[in-house]
């Protein structure tokens, strides 16, 4: 799944470690989400979106998920 996490992080000059600490996860998980290896749970997606002051749809791109 594509996300805007890396872009939003760079805008705010945040490291993966800082974001991870703020949303209650690890740096490795943030890396995996950013590169699309891991799909965040609804709870984590909500925490990340809320941290950036955006909605889940604004951070995560669900368009590819509907393709069969």
């Amino acid at each position: 799944m594509k996300t805007r996490i890396k872009e939003l992080r760079k805008e705010r000059k945040l490291s993966q470690e800082e974001l991870a600490l703020a949303v209650g996860t690890t740096r490795q998980t943030i890396t995996s989400i950013e590169v699309g290896k891991y799909t965040a749970s609804l709870v984590l997606a909500y925490k990340i979106a809320r941290f950036f002051g955006l909605t889940i749809e604004e951070v995560f791109d669900f368009s590819e998920e509907n393709e069969f």
Partner: protein, 151 residues
């Protein structure tokens, strides 16, 4: 975070207990090895005694490392938060689940206890159980590493 702090303190206490127990068992193990009658002892007796001693030393070393690590963590709020995040990380939980944890750890401990007991009765059963434990832990570790690479 206070609740997690209490959990960490409890873990330090448990590890201290384990270290103390390992120390007592280690001392008894050394005493048994020194006072053993070498003339009647078989190669298997020596192997089982050596395995037990190695296991005790491993428990002691791991417990001491755990005590030091947790004691340093509890003093630092950031380190404590990092440890909490690491232990409650959803990705790691999924990986551990795929690697068969915590069931593999529980069955491994039970099989090691069974192997030690069996070692006094039948050495073939002892070897079989130890190989079974080593195999299941190896498979679990490989699955975990694979999942960590792909997830």
């Amino acid at each position: 975070m206070e609740k997690f702090k209490r959990t960490v303190k409890r873990r330090i206490t448990i590890s201290s207990g384990m270290a103390l127990l390992a120390l007592v068992l280690g001392a008894y193990s050394i005493y048994s090895i020194i006072t053993a009658d070498i003339s009647t002892a078989t190669h298997s007796d020596g192997f089982v005694a050596g395995f037990q001693f190695g296991l005790i030393v491993s428990i002691l070393v791991l417990s001491v490392i755990d005590i030091i690590k947790l004691s340093l963590t509890i003093k630092d709020e950031t380190k404590l938060k990092l440890l909490y995040n690491k232990e409650h990380d959803e990705r790691m939980k999924a990986i551990r689940s795929k690697a068969g944890m915590p069931l593999i750890a529980v069955t491994s401990v039970l099989l090691i206890i069974a192997a030690i007991i069996a070692g006094y009765i039948n050495i073939t059963v002892f070897y079989t159980l130890i190989i079974a434990v080593a195999t299941q832990l190896s498979v679990s570790a490989v699955v975990k590493l694979y999942c960590m690479k792909t997830m």
